[in-house]
């Protein structure tokens, strides 16, 4: 395994473009090292992204937030303003692994590992996040939901690497939340993950984004479910419809963590519970 420490994104993409065999980018390492130790994957080329300037920064600008690719979950949680504006994204990231894992794991790494159950991805999708991708032919910006294409695979081409994650500017009367179902209280991979992002006007939902994780090959953006609660004050009928649409949208598998039936049912339960929290947060964020 060749280990590289590029000093710029350009250098990183050059190394990735010219090398054959398996290439992995290393940020927190909480997926790459696990796969290395478990004999799942030994990269031929390992490119450590932590020595590029700016990768550890959380920046606020007129478009919103820009999160560097080597910012750890712990650093995100400790950022007061980011936590206040995007509690759903922060709590999703915060749920990944243990305190020790939080000390290293990154939003970008969680996205790029491509697990259908990744906790941060539904919250990024619900937030309407974008990612910058830098490659041999320059930089492009795409919607975060377009990054994962199947379990373990992203849309990134050879030589390309994510260079930043972007969250929209937060306005008043907006709130987001993330819940996941796991059998223990911590340390499990999500059996179902649900993120909801709402905007209210006079307590009526005017905009909604609902996303589910771990119930399909990639995280889902539920347009029908969102429609069912727009125009409502999240009364019981709206919640019921939301729950049914959430269950309908599921396309899960039976595996050692949950059955199809179980995931489908719990997706409906979580959609209700998550929406309620997002709603309360949006109301408080006057």
């Amino acid at each position: 395994m060749e280990y590289h420490k590029p000093q710029s994104f350009q250098e990183a993409t050059e190394i990735a473009s010219r090398n054959n065999g398996v290439t992995r980018f290393l940020a927190g390492g909480t997926d790459v090292l696990v796969q290395l130790r478990s004999d799942i994957l030994t990269p031929d080329t390992l490119i450590d992204m932590k020595y590029i300037s700016g990768v550890k920064d959380i920046l606020e600008n007129s478009d919103g937030w820009q999160i560097g690719v080597a910012v750890s979950g712990a650093e995100m949680s400790e950022h007061q303003k980011l936590s206040k504006e995007w509690p759903g994204v922060i709590e999703a990231m915060d749920l990944i692994g243990s305190t020790q894992v939080q000390g290293r794991a990154t939003l970008t790494g969680n996205l790029c590992n491509g697990s259908p159950a990744a906790d941060s991805v539904p919250s990024l999708i619900a937030a309407g996040a974008h990612v910058s991708i830098t490659g041999p032919s320059g930089t492009r910006k795409i919607k975060v939901e377009d990054v994962p294409i199947s379990p373990g695979k992203t849309c990134l081409r050879k030589g390309e690497v994510i260079s930043a994650i972007h969250l929209p500017r937060r306005k008043h009367n907006q709130g987001d939340a993330y819940l996941r179902f796991i059998p223990r209280t911590e340390m499990d991979i999500a059996v179902v993950g649900c993120a909801v992002n709402l905007e209210l006007h006079d307590e009526i939902i005017t905009k909604a984004r609902v996303s589910l994780g771990a119930v399909a090959p990639t995280a889902l953006l539920l347009e029908n479910a969102a429609q069912k609660i727009i125009g409502s004050k999240l009364d019981n009928q709206a919640l019921k419809l939301l729950s049914e649409e959430a269950s309908k949208a599921c396309n899960p598998i039976n595996d050692k963590r949950g059955t199809i039936e179980f995931r489908t049912h719990v997706a409906g339960v979580l959609a209700k519970r998550t929406a309620k929290i997002a709603y309360e947060r949006a109301k408080e964020n006057r």
Binding site: M1, G29, T99, R104, T185, M187
Partner: protein
Amino acid sequence: MSKIHVNTTINGDHLEFLCDPRETLLDALRDRLNLTGAKEGCGTGDCGACSVTLDNRLVCSCLVLGAEADGKSIGTVEGISKGEELHPLQQKFIEHAALQCGICTPGILVATKALLEKNPDPTETEVRYWLAGNLCRCTGYDKIIKAVMDTARDLREAS
């Protein structure tokens, strides 16, 4: 690839070692530097027995490459006591019988020291969630939590 030369600071001492790119920091600590306090319980970040601090951040050393320690400051269990003087946490663990076999103890001490330095007044729930990544199979965690809460109280009263 030939071995990587790493310069690092461990418990305040400057140390150097050579390691294979695939070696983890845990491997390097134990097999290159004879610091066997950190233990491999799983090698995949699920048990916390290998916990160390990296630039004051609590991490699993099995999830860090030896190469990544270059230029960094590492804290291990061996650095918690000062010569013969035990840290209050270590003393309380013994008093409260907060260890049975002791294999998880180094990791838990590193983790709880990091907790109390960040939050000197944690609730029982906060302690439990902070330690969720430190598995203990012997104690059921009861006496560990009590030792940590007792130490926190003592440290707060002393300051």
